[in-house]
């Protein structure tokens, strides 16, 4: 379903009167399918990743429903394995990695930079189709025999199972190229396409974040590519690298895999942090606190993130010294993240905080990401991880950072830029309600999982001892509440397409360049090169009731 390249849900009915916005610039299926416009590609990605999210989310609810009873509600053990595997793989590879960079990033990066497009528009479109191709492989893998290795494809099980490992790893391989090309495109765009006046330190922080993310995408993803290729070769030919039966070493596979996949968690979180920097500042109507620290910390995270992969393997068999080094390095990466959290707090301090929908999501992010980050620290401590590894504590940790962090920031970003993307305002109250339900539902789902983990509930089990039933049931209720919250958010957005007021140029009072373009932006973004100023200078921006948005007074 995610693979269908359909015209995004945008109905350019009323705005059709006005000439020159990118939605109405040309029409027809091919004008979308073959478009080279970064904004349209961004919207197509948005539809794609959201469809994947829907699929992954439904699978998650199936898992949670099954775990309502200690003996399992309705799945066989094999089905359970297949469903949690697909949930994880779809969420990681199809949704969360492309979510912010490919969907929002594509739409926003050239506009925020003041450029006409990304450096390589055709490559950009190919990235999208590679994503579609990878998604198709995954769907085929799902519809055929069902993958049951977990999203990590650990050997030796992935060499023995009858599941469609080759199809799925092929999918990952293709998606990897999509991700590499997007990252490469963004790096080149930021390096060479900045208009006069757009210096590095006048770039909005979202662009710093996307830049750092792109570095990781370019440096880490090729290693995933070769790992997947070696895994396929191991299955087909038996090259003897990973297969213990042929004298290979499964722990080598884990090293290869996490060398990519730990940096990949920063591919997921860094752009989300960029979004939060924008939302915090705009909706507090106050310049960002510590611009340079935030910018540098993004780059620092990107680079340090390459040195800590071993913390996923503390119990897999490594030399003691190695584990100690990895543990120590793991603690150091948390420092730049903490710097950002403090900077966001100080941005709000003495600001004029408007509790709009995007801001509510940003505030949820602050709570949830902080919990997620802080629980990473005990996991990085050797003695504690010995007990927590492969328990629900880890599951809760990474859901707090990935869902509470990235997803919530992504939603905040969508609500923030939605008026710009489609030219319609949504129902503010509806949005606020969705943010509230998501926050409550999320905590209800995952807080109990921390407790379960500390009590020894192992992850990836289809059944459990009856003592855990209460906490599991809380978690299941929470998951469904969370689902409701997400559907409310979706409803609010879709409703806005049909009933929404026309969006003003600058509904929130942002100072970055996308708020200078009309909503939605014209095909070429800027008819004349934009005047570049401080992206966080809010002086002179005043609310104009007639416009329904902010205008700049000199």
């Amino acid at each position: 379903m995610s693979a269908v390249i359909s015209k995004p849900l945008v109905a350019p009915v009323e705005s059709a009167k006005e000439p020159g916005n990118f939605l109405t610039h040309t029409s027809g299926f091919l004008s979308w399918a073959l478009t080279l416009d970064h904004k349209r590609i961004g919207l197509m990605y948005l539809v794609g990743v959201m469809s994947s999210f829907l699929l992954g989310g439904v699978l998650a609810l199936v898992v949670r429903a099954h775990l309502f009873y200690a003996d399992g509600a309705f799945l066989t053990l094999k089905q359970y394995n297949q469903i949690f595997t697909l949930h994880g793989a779809v969420m990681v590879f199809l949704f969360i990695i492309p979510s912010v960079p490919a969907a929002l990033g594509n739409f926003l990066l050239p506009i925020m930079l003041g450029a006409k497009d990304v450096a390589f528009p055709r490559l950009n479109l190919s990235s999208f189709y590679l994503w579609v191709g990878g998604a198709i492989f995954f769907l085929v893998a799902m519809l055929t025999t069902g993958l049951d290795t977990g999203w990590t494809f650990y050997t030796p099980y992935s060499l023995e199972t009858t599941g469609p490992v080759v199809l799925a790893t092929m999918g990952v391989f293709i998606l990897g190229f999509s991700s590499i090309f997007t990252g490469l495109n963004f790096i080149v765009t930021i390096n060479t396409m900045r208009p006069p006046g757009m210096t590095w330190f006048r770039m909005p922080l979202l662009l710093w974040a996307i830049y750092s993310t792109s570095i990781i995408q370019v440096l880490a993803t090729p290693v995933l590519g070769i790992t997947m290729l070696l895994l396929m070769a191991e299955r087909f030919l038996g090259i003897g690298i990973f297969d213990p039966k042929l004298n290979g070493d499964p722990v080598t596979y884990q090293h290869f895999f996490w060398f990519y996949s730990h940096p990949a968690v920063y591919i997921m979180i860094l752009p989300a942090m960029g979004i939060i920097s924008e939302l915090m500042s705009v909706h507090s109507h106050k310049g960002i606190f510590g611009y340079r620290m935030i910018a540098y910390s993004s780059v620092a995270i990107a680079l340090f993130g390459f040195l800590v992969w071993g913390h996923h393997m503390f119990t897999s068999g490594m030399a003691n010294v190695t584990t100690i080094v990895f543990s120590a390095l793991t603690f150091t990466v948390s420092i730049p993240s903490a710097i950002k959290v403090f900077n966001w707090l100080f941005t709000m301090y003495k600001g004029t905080v408007s509790l709009t929908t995007p801001m509510l999501y940003a505030l949820s992010f602050m709570f949830l990401f902080t919990i997620g980050g802080l629980t990473g620290l005990p996991l990085g401590a050797l003695s504690i991880d010995r007990h927590f590894h492969d328990t629900y504590f880890v599951v809760a940790h990474f859901h707090y950072v990935m869902m509470g962090g990235t997803l919530v920031a992504f939603l905040g970003g969508i609500f923030h830029w939605w008026p710009k993307m489609v030219g319609k305002m949504y129902n503010e109250l509806g949005g606020q309600i969705s943010a509230g339900i998501v926050f409550v539902g999320f905590n209800l789902t995952f807080l109990p999982q921390f407790v379960l983990g500390t009590r020894g509930m192992p992850r990836r089990y289809a059944t459990y001892v009856p003592e855990f039933e209460f906490l599991h049931q809380l978690s299941t209720y929470g998951a469904f509440l969370l689902g409701i919250g997400l559907f409310v958010a979706l409803g609010v957005l879709i409703n806005s397409l049909f009933r929404g007021k026309k969006a003003p140029t600058n509904p929130w009072g942002g100072a970055t360049l996308e708020w200078v373009c009309s909503s939605p932006p014209p095909h070429d973004n800027f008819s004349k090169p934009p005047v570049v100023g401080d992206p966080y200078d809010f002086r002179g921006l005043e609310y104009d009731a007639r416009e329904g948005g902010y205008v700049r007074r000199k």
């Binding site: 790096i187 370019v218 090259i239």
Partner: protein, 356 residues
């Protein structure tokens, strides 16, 4: 379709300055376009290096874990073939660099011929590689999962070399036909494309010939006992061991396939000096070396094929005179890619063929 904005001057009126056809609409000037392309290519090369790095790490890891396996198994690689291929690739790097120079100086004829030579070298490389691979497949020198213990079981002979030659032959016939067609029609543009493609597909066969010659020449010498100096010269064992090897080889031939006459060049392979090391000569041991060998050289060969694709694309554009001193970015970037592919081979060759 109107938002497809690649080299077209259709949008030129949007701008204060002129956009020549080769300058994409979203770039301000030629320099920005060139810099973007170049940076993009360098980043792509970084990803390529990282892609290969996974295999280099695997090599280093398994070599340090099982050095004896690598010493044993690398004897089966024919350093002569590797050396020839190294020479071919180095030469192709020269012609590629020359092509870049020609593009910068708007020398259209030299550009096409240099690209054609690069393409031909690539094809020749693959021809030699085809001989190397198929010879090993014949002997059962395969990745761990399929490795056939040397000197015990009867290796599985197939017509692999012929099979690999089929696609090249098909290409050669097609290109020859095209060339004749263009010749009759006096289409200079098509001649400029079909010619290089025809030569390149023939060069594949030249590579095959060369490979067969070097491979069989050695076997031949060895089967008659005269090539020992050459093959075993760098072997650490003493002369007494050589005699023992020879006896074992003969013994194996005699016992394992009674009554069957195999062409001696193929079956009594000079490289099978180590068959008396039963510890190493088995799937889970020697096979690991071949797993790594096939992955590294195979993925490298895929990159050569990809390079041949883009060089062909360049030839088409060069025949259309699209490159000149103001616009030569694609030639430059493909050149960079080609040098990287050569560069990787420069590492593969000593690591796999030479280090004992």
């Amino acid at each position: 379709m109107s938002d497809i904005t690649i080299p077209t001057s259709e949008h030129a009126d949007d701008h204060s300055h002129d956009h020549p056809a080769w300058l994409a609409h979203h770039f301000d000037d030629a320099e920005q376009q060139f810099d973007s392309g170049k940076l993009g290519m360098w980043l792509f090369l970084v990803t390529e290096v990282l892609f290969f790095s996974g295999m280099f790490v695997a090599y280093a890891l398994f070599r340090s874990l099982h050095p004896e396996v690598f010493v044993y198994a690398s004897q089966f690689l024919n350093a002569k073939l590797g050396a020839i291929n190294t020479g071919v690739l180095l030469f192709s790097s020269l012609t590629m660099a020359w092509a870049v120079r020609a593009a910068q100086l708007s020398q259209q004829k030299i550009l096409v011929s240099m690209l054609a030579m690069t393409l031909s070298c690539a094809a020749m490389f693959l021809g030699v590689k085809a001989v190397e691979y198929t010879h090993k497949w014949d002997l059962g020198l395969l990745p761990a999962g399929m490795y056939i213990t040397q000197g015990v079981a009867e290796p599985n002979h197939g017509n692999w070399l012929q099979i690999l030659c089929i696609p090249a032959a098909v290409f050669a016939v097609i290109f020859a036909g095209w060339y004749l067609f263009a010749l009759v029609g006096r289409n200079r543009f098509q001649l400029q494309i079909a010619g290089p493609l025809l030569v390149a597909s023939l060069c594949f066969f030249a590579g095959v010939q060369l490979g067969v010659f070097l491979e069989s020449g050695e076997s031949h010498g060895d089967a008659h006992g005269s090539g020992h100096g050459a093959t075993h010269g760098d072997h650490h064992e003493g002369a007494g061991d050589h005699a023992a090897h020879a006896i074992i080889v003969d013994h194996m031939v005699a016992t394992s396939i009674p009554g069957q006459a195999f062409p001696s060049e193929v079956f009594v392979d000079p490289k099978r000096v180590g068959i008396d090391e039963p510890e190493i000569n088995q799937r889970g041991r020697a096979g690991i070396f071949f797993g790594i060998y096939y992955m590294m050289t195979g993925i490298h060969a895929v990159h050569i094929l990809g390079g041949m694709g883009v060089i062909t694309w360049l030839i088409v554009k060069a025949a259309r005179h699209e490159f000149h001193s103001k616009y030569f970015g694609p030639v430059d970037n493909v050149g960079l890619y080609w040098h990287l592919v050569d560069f990787i081979w420069i590492f593969l060759f000593p690591l796999l063929y030479l280090i004992r």
